[in-house]
Amino acid sequence: MGLRRFIAVRVLTTIPILFGVSVFTFAMVHLTPGDPIDQLVALNPQISAAEEAAIRARYGLDGPVWQQYFTWITNVLQGDFGTVINVDQPVGPYIMDRLPQTIALGLFGWVIALLIAIPTGIYAAVNKDTLGDDLSRVFALSGISLPNFWLGLMLILVFALWLDLWPVLAPNKPLFSPAMLKYLVLPGVTIGTASSATLMRVMRSSMAEEMNKEYVTAARAKGLPERTVVLKHVLRNSLISVTTIAAFLTASIFAGAVVVESVFAWPGLGRAFVKAISGREVDLIMAITLFTGVTIILANLLADIVYALLDPRIRYD
């Protein structure tokens, strides 16, 4: 009951946050000059001023900014997220076409990050100040320092061009087919590596700190094998701080997706976002931003729920 109430409260508090995000983004987009109609006119010089005004009016781009915002939010509350003017398609279906690609990429990257980070972090903590620990430190530092786009390009260069091992340009096939999964690997690794570096450092330091606690000596004094001591007693306590970072990384994974999707020409939301910005597609920018906001908020909510599962001392009531 306590947990359900906690979730309800948390979901309600997201409303003002999302409202704030929408106002801020809307203002930012309108601070930059130009809109899709300007581009249309530039490409088609034969359009008259009267026609231009008519098109603007049709997409609600003629009023003052506050009025445009009011119209936009009224429509959104009724489930209408507007139009992608360039292709004259409603935003909803436009996003739904690309969303699964991004979710697949993000989850894959996230899983890769965890798969690399948790075992390496445990290894580094258990073998503190040995060669392996130092190597993991070098790896982490590289992972944090290397920009996504560079790593992505290098992976393409090495694995696709030189070694010819991996295909890169995804064909237009259903997402969840084995053929497509193969195309996920390189962009997924690119996204996962950067996140895994941060996660691994947190895993290591949190684990190393837990290893010094007396309950670890007590567990050893019981005669338990070191494997049990580490993987049962220490790991669960260490995962609490890792959960925080893992949720936090959702944001950077999405940010990574924007770059990585562009590098790998992956047909997802991230690439659509870049196009939306360069085309000043206000409705699309707004929708993707809000969607990202909701995802990040949900990830943090999930983290709060995982805390309670990991640590019995955390209670939400």
């Binding site: 000596t217 007590a218 019981k222 338990l224 669960r236």
Partner: protein
Amino acid sequence: MSLLEVEDLTVNFYTEEGVVTAVDDLSFRIDRGEKFGVVGESGAGKSVTALSVMRLIEEPGRIESGTIRFDGQDLMELSDSAVRDVRGNDIAMIFQDAQTALNPVYTVGEQISEAIRHHLDYSDAEARDRTIRLLDDVGIPEPEARYDDYPHEFSGGMQQRAIIAMALSCDPELLIADEPTTALDVTIEAKILDRLDRLADEYDTAIQLITHDLGVIAEMCDRVMVMYAGRAVENAPVEELYYDPKHPYTVGLMSAIPRIGDRQDRLQTIPGTMPDLVEVPSGCSFHPRCPFAEEACTRKQPPLVDPETGDGVGLSDRSAACLAYTGDLDSELDYEVEVKGGRGSPPDDTQPDPRGGRTDTEPLQADSDPVGLDTDLLDRDGPDDSGGQQDG
């Protein structure tokens, strides 16, 4: 053959300040079913000794040398996995602070059962039954319901009881209790010690009781080892230690026990603090604090000898490490011990047994100025204030 025979144990810690010899050439033995007390100030090496016996010394510490024979088997020669079969099974440990010794994210019951499942190959259900019986034994009400509680749902006293249940879970032959009641208040302390005492008899378990509380020793132990700066300075059966302490440090500890009815404004203390173990004083490490110290004490490290004969001893019951017994001192140790209601004299209080209760009537009373010191010495600051080690 004794249950545990530790010989010439030396444990070093390699810290940034230098090498700390936490335990220095220490020897002692514990017989089956015996209750053996280890007493000394913080930093004397008591806990390190305890952890060494279980081979639980971790970096930057290292057991430099010595043998630890348990049941005739030298634990130092065993493989890691063979030592793990001894830990928790034959030798178990009760930790000082139950709150930190329990893992916060597992239930108390699970933390006790896991050792039972591991060492005794019990099934989940059997281990659970045994754990509930143990919780009942150590005095936890409604043990069945409490099995699934997490440590933070237990009070401090109950946590300590749970730790005792955990230590007893596989029927160990030796129980190392490292200041088992320091974190508790006096009433709970008395109850828990009483319970521990009875359970040790019931389970026929030997106890190595580590404490800085002489009262606790008097209450429970058969024999005592007094430690100072990583070395044993005196060994004695418990009564002899109280009636006839041989080492000036022991005498100082005794006189530091406050007594009900005393009309003193200040507590007696031993001047100074335990020396910094990176730079142990030359000769006898106690000499800077010792009221009887002579020039010889700064040069020569006193061996453990029989205080009657001055001969070297092995794992003897009665020994003290002071140059007074090797004939190196010019004068004699000059102190007197007055025990009220002691042996030979008619009891003048209700507690004639020196091993009786210690909270209501102090059974052991040294003279208010037992070491014959001038009070000025006791009041002034010690020559070495640099101590402040972690609890050893």
